[in-house]
Amino acid sequence: MEPQLSWYLALSAVLFTIGAAGVIIKRNVIQMFMCIELMLNAVNLTFIAFSSFFQDVTGQLFVFIVMTVAAAEAAVGLGIIIAIFRNRESLDVDDASILKL
């Protein structure tokens, strides 16, 4: 049986929901970060699926942009995580509930 568009969208929705739930539930900042990546990639999957469905290359271009931004975000985000960890000896986000270091 040929994979349908709806299959991809369903998978994407599942991945996004897992990611969103993970961001809210997880306390470990690394895990939250990974969940954010999961949400981004769920969106990427949607883009690819529609691109293939409509035979339009624009969706694939967006995916490249998202991946580029995700890479940059990862670099900055990991930098912040290291800074916080050095300061607090903890990766728990709830420990970083006050703004000042």
């Binding site: 969103a20 961001v23 809210i24 539930i25 939250m32 986000v93 709830d94 970083a96 509930s97 703004l99």
Partner: protein, 725 residues
């Protein structure tokens, strides 16, 4: 006639005040400050005399001298100029204000010697001269009001001159606040005048398109003699409102209470402001508005009754005071009452005459008391004086003339003016309003006051200059400190000082004023008395002032048939420039019938007898017993201050504290602000949970928000967008 010199009269003292305030405070040189202050007033005096007496000057022609400086306010029909005018009335006033003011300035240089605030004193004193002359020379109501407030301010500053003493500050506040009550009346009177006539100017100034409010009123018919006229909003209402203003400034019942307390200021201030000049501003204003008052018989009646009541009331208090300045203060109130009695009887000229002679002899008496206080090392209680004539011969001799003048002994100045007022009061009933029983009653009050005046002045002289020398005695009662207001801060436990005569700077003004108190009355010798000794002297004061003063209409007494006002002399003739009243009747024979002359001579004899009897009575009572205790109710001034405290001040205090402060301010204003604060605090207490600092909570909120937005569009469709703005 325009003459720009006129503004020099008012601006010279202003310049003197500025120089002393800015330069004098740095130099701290008494010689410099004194010369500047006296020089400034001397300039005013010289210019005033020049403008009054040069050919075609203010006192020699019917045309006033104008000096239109600039148009101050011009909105719609309302127009107020910064313009000065010297006519016969304001000229007469300016002459004695500048001259007596100059003498008092000279005296003050000696009196204030070695005082800390020497520069401040003379800056204020010059500022006062500026304000007083603005008041006198203003050509409209509003500028007059500026001067009126200016003298009030300077009075406040100078009463409170001894800034380190609480009673001086309290007295200054009392004077200022009491005057506010009067000023309310004055302002309302000005507004009503504008409302009725469309003008606030005293004079016609055709060159500037200004018509005289007084002339407009003079053309109206006379108000009826009823109580209702007071509140009817017509001429009588104006007259009553203006009289409230005059009563505040000139210390009449019920607004007189500030004047005795004002003696907390230095003695030259009492002489200048609270005897000779400022307190007579109310009389000046009423005489200036004589056209209004002659059209308001009810107001005239009120003025006369209040004046007579004040005269008697203050005289009875004056008889029981032990502070030499307090005696003179109550005497001043009493004499001011005389002036208002004259105004109310339509004897405006006699009122101004008494203002002038009073300025001479009361300034003399005040300066004399200042000299005594100076010589006694700042002792004001007459119970600790006595026998001073040996130590202070010049002060004694000069005060002697003042005493005789105020008691009404012939040839001294006070006799002529006081006799004139009493005669006019008596005769008013025969020829004009109010009806004879009233005028005879008022005459009786005036005569009784004259008797009391002679008695209390004799008491003052006896206690001060005759008898045993009580200043050497140790005073056990001094510790009680009951004597309220003393003139100066440093009274050093009254170690025995020999009294000494004052320096020439103080005695020379005394001598000049003594001469004026002796001969000053000859400017107004009435025909009936002059002809008695075979002379025919001109009554200068009446001849000068008569043309600028409105005449009483006659024949409006109760039951009188005449409906139209019948003018005693010619009805007002509008002329350009001059106020509207020009009487051409100047021949003395024509105006005085033989019967009238006989009556006038008889009354003059009566008033001399009263004055002499008063002096003899005072001498008999107080010569042996100068410390005779007076009735307590008189010594305590009829408890009027206490009554005012109980009726007005305490309720206002209590109402302010309990009502305005504790209920309105704390309850309403503070309560409203606190309620706003509490709403914000409570709201914040709830909302701050959104900002807990937990990253996951933020993420959840973002997610919920996104779900809500997407859910909205998913449910209603994209076209639901048109709900949004």
């Amino acid at each position: 006639m325009e003459n720009n010199l006129l503004s020099l009269i008012i601006f010279a003292p202003l310049a003197g005040a500025a120089i002393n305030w800015f330069l004098g405070r740095r130099l701290r040189d008494e010689r410099f400050i004194g010369v500047v202050a006296c020089g400034a007033v001397a300039v005013s005096t010289v210019v005033a005399f020049y403008l009054a007496f040069k050919s075609g000057g203010a006192l020699r022609s019917t045309e006033p001298v104008f000096d239109h400086l600039w148009t101050w306010i011009h909105v719609g029909k309302f127009r107020a100029d910064f313009g000065l005018a010297m006519d016969r009335l304001s000229g007469t006033y300016a002459l004695f204000v500048t001259f007596v003011g100059f003498l008092i300035h000279v005296f003050a240089v000696g009196y204030m010697h070695k005082d800390e605030g020497f520069y401040r004193f003379f800056a204020f004193l010059n500022l006062f001269m500026f304000a007083m002359l603005t008041l006198v020379l203003a050509d409209n109501f509003l500028l007059m009001f500026v001067g009126w407030e200016g003298v009030g301010l300077c009075s406040y500053l100078l009463i409170g001159y001894y800034i380190d003493r609480k009673e001086a500050g309290d007295a200054a506040k009392k004077a200022f606040i009491t005057n506010r009550v009067g000023d309310w009346g004055f302002v309302m009177g000005i507004m009503l005048t504008f409302f009725l006539t469309g003008s606030i100017s005293f004079f016609n100034k055709p060159a500037h398109g200004v018509t005289s409010a007084l002339q407009t009123i003079a053309a109206l018919s006379v108000d009826p003699f009823t109580a209702h006229a007071i509140v009817a909003g017509g001429v009588t209402s104006i007259a009553i409102l203006l009289f409230i203003g005059a009563a505040g400034k000139s210390a009449q019942i019920p607004l007189y209470v500030w004047l005795p307390d004002a003696m907390a200021g230095p003695t030259p201030v009492s002489a200048l402001i609270h005897a000779a000049t400022m307190v007579t501003a109310g009389v000046y204003m009423i005489v200036r508005c004589s056209a209004i008052y002659t059209h308001a018989p009810t107001a005239m009646f009120v003025v006369a009754v209040i004046g007579a009541a004040t005269a008697l009331f203050a005289a009875t208090i004056g008889i029981a005071q032990n502070d030499i300045k307090k005696v003179l203060a109550y005497s001043t109130i009493s004499q001011l009452g005389y002036m208002f009695l004259a105004c109310g009887m339509g004897a405006f000229v006699a009122a101004i005459f008494h203002v002038i002679t009073h300025a001479f002899f009361k300034a003399l008496l005040f300066l004399g008391s200042g000299s005594v206080i100076h010589g006694m090392h700042h002792e004001q209680d007459m119970r600790r004086m006595g026998g001073l004539k040996k130590y202070m011969p010049i002060t004694f001799a000069t005060m002697l003339t003042g005493w005789l003048a105020i008691s009404g002994i012939p040839i001294f100045a006070g006799f002529f003016s006081k006799d004139e007022i009493l005669w006019r009061t008596w005769s008013a009933g025969l020829f004009t309003l109010p009806s004879p029983p009233w005028s005879n009653a008022l005459w009786f009050v005036g005569a009784l006051t004259a008797l009391l005046t002679a008695v209390y002045m004799t008491r003052m002289m006896v206690m001060t200059f005759w008898g045993t020398e009580r200043f050497r005695e140790k005073h056990l009662d001094h510790a009680a400190g009951a004597q309220g207001i003393h003139d100066d801060a440093h009274h050093d436990d009254h170690a025995v000082h020999e009294p000494h005569e004052s320096p020439w700077l103080m005695t020379v003004p005394l001598i000049v004023l003594a001469i004026l108190s002796t001969i000053g009355g000859f400017i107004g010798v009435p025909y009936a008395l002059g002809s008695l000794v075979g002379l025919h002297p001109t009554n200068y004061i009446e001849q000068t002032l008569d043309p600028v003063i409105a005449k009483l209409p006659v024949g409006k007494t109760e039951g009188a048939p005449a409906a139209e006002p019948v003018w005693l002399s010619q009805p007002p003739q509008p002329t350009d420039g001059a106020p509207a009243f020009v009487s051409l009747d100047e021949s003395p024979e024509g105006a005085h019938s033989a019967e009238e002359i006989r009556a006038e001579r008889l009354l003059a004899l009566v008033s001399v007898a009263i004055g002499a009897f008063g002096i003899v009575l005072g001498w008999i009572i107080f010569q042996r017993r100068p410390l005779l205790a007076m009735p307590r109710i008189l010594e305590n001034k009829y408890y009027v201050d206490e009554i005012y405290d109980a009726v007005l001040i305490n309720p206002i205090n209590a109402g302010s504290r309990e009502g305005l402060w504790k209920i309105f301010d704390v309850g309403v204003i503070d309560g409203f602000l606190h309620a706003i604060g509490e709403v914000v605090i409570d709201g914040g207490r709830v909302i701050r949970h959104l900002q807990g600092g937990f990253v996951r909570a933020y993420a959840a909120i973002i997610l919920l928000g996104a779900v809500a937005v997407i859910g909205f569009f998913a449910y209603f469709g994209v076209h639901a967008m048109h709900f949004l703005p």
